[in-house]
Amino acid sequence: MLYGKYFSIHLKSQMQYKTSFFLTALGQFLTSFSVYLSIYFMFERFNRVEGFTYTEVLLCFAVVLMAFSLAECFFRGFDTFPTIISNGEFDRMMVRPRSVIFQVLASKIEFSRIGRLLQAIIVFAYAIPASGISWTYDKIVTLLLMLISGITVFSGLFIIYASFAFFTIEGLEFMNIFTDGGREFGRYPLSIYGEGVLKFFTYVIPTALFQYYPFLYLIGRSDNLLYMFLPLVGMLFLIPCYCFWRFGLRHYKSTGS
């Protein structure tokens, strides 16, 4: 398929600069490793936070990290979309006989995100056995749903970020609150930030739908089966994101450069 072609071209081109690639991946790893260290040291001082233990928080951290790094790896094109608009590259995309979303998607695949992914895998490898959860089928399904839903929600946020560029040409820095902020503060279950923040991240930005409620089911704090399937509701977030993209696309005026 065409995406496969793009995939292999991006892979080949990034492998041309091997040192740079590995250093970037190492940097990505270190960035998330330092966040891991902060969790480790906080729990060395305080045993629990709002009743959550160290291994439980690690599970939460790993879910968010993995979802974010996969979303960023494949949806990076939307993250750099403001440049595509401002340098006029988008006009060329419009005249090609393929969907615009597909082309933006394929315009960039960032393999160096593997550094972050690696960190997530290591944390999972430690936390999955150490958390003391008996891994029955429903728990495994819950974890997978959390991951898939996480990727969808972060991708949706990248699409919204890109859609704003139709109106402003430039990227909007405050969107980082939801993308980078979701990753940074999502390392702890969102309830610890208090009622208001949890509500915001449930009803406005559905981060809690894949990060908090199913997590409660996962660690056995709740046996409400509904919580297990809330990540599916979180995936619906993609619909308004897509509508906003269409809306922006209709208002697009070329920058002319």
Partner: protein, 267 residues
């Protein structure tokens, strides 16, 4: 000296133009500080006895950190400098009758200062209006405030001298991205950017205390709220002066040897 002053003025005024970016930045940083405080509040509720500092002092630390982000975070690199090395434009700069080290240093100081001018005060004013203990409070004492100003200036210069080393390394590696990210990731943790250093175990704190990183944002912010007071402040300043001299010395030496073997990349 005059040419550096005018260079400073040009860069300072130039960066002041980006107001919209500054507003966006302020909103983001305010949110960031707020969430960080909520996070620490959760830990405080779970074990107030294990908290290494008073909560109001932590709040001042976090707000100062957000307000002066552009001064003290290592990762605010000047992309123009990296580009000038990789594209070969550095040749033009070398042809000018100015010292390259001083010029880059001045440029960076100017850009960062002007960004901080736009952002810091609105953040601090709004933060001061927040209810206790989450708000930004007045300095611990007059002496501490004076010492805060001195250590903040020194810390800023140390950050700059450290960034210079990253710039100079590009003469050798050509692609700056890797070094940049690694330096940013390490320093973010070691300077107390992710969690303040007092939250780390004592032995880890002692090791970090031996590096220049502890002399960056950590020292002035802790002095402001009175977490560090008395004779310890003077010891901190001595250490800062030492690190500033050492980093500038290493940087100049390294730059000279890099320029001896520099290969201009065409262009």
């Amino acid at each position: 000296m005059k040419q550096y002053l005018s260079l400073f003025r040009i860069r300072f005024i130039n960066s002041l133009q980006y107001r919209a970016a500054a507003y966006g930045g302020m909103v983001t940083q305010f949110f960031w500080g707020f969430m960080t405080l909520l996070l620490f509040r959760a830990f405080y509720k779970s074990g107030a006895a294990d908290f290494p500092m008073e909560f109001s002092r932590l709040s001042s630390y976090i707000w100062l950190q957000q307000a002066f982000l552009t001064l003290f975070m290592i990762w605010y690199f000047d992309m123009d400098i990296f580009n000038s090395i990789t594209s070969g434009n550095v040749a033009y700069e070398l042809a000018r009758p100015v010292d390259l080290y001083k010029m880059w240093f001045t440029k960076n100081v100017a850009t960062r200062l002007s960004r901080a001018t736009l952002r810091s005060f609105p953040i601090l004013i709004v933060a001061a209006l927040l209810p206790k203990p989450y708000g930004f409070s007045l300095p611990y004492s007059f002496t501490n405030f004076a010492m805060f100003l001195i250590t903040a200036v020194l810390a800023f210069l140390i950050v700059m001298a450290f960034c210079m080393l990253v710039y100079i390394s590009t003469f050798y590696t050509m692609s700056s991205l890797g070094v940049r990210i690694v330096a940013a990731a390490l320093s973010d943790f070691l300077t107390g950017g992710i969690i303040p250093l007092p939250f780390l175990p004592d032995n880890v704190q002692r090791i970090i205390g031996l590096t220049p990183f502890a002399s960056m944002q950590n020292l002035p912010f802790l002095i402001y709220s009175g977490h560090i007071a008395g004779a310890e402040m003077f010891r901190g300043i001595m250490l800062q002066v030492f690190w500033l001299a050492a980093l500038v010395f290493i940087g100049r030496l390294w730059m000279n040897s890099a320029l001896k073997r520099v290969v201009i990349q065409g262009g």
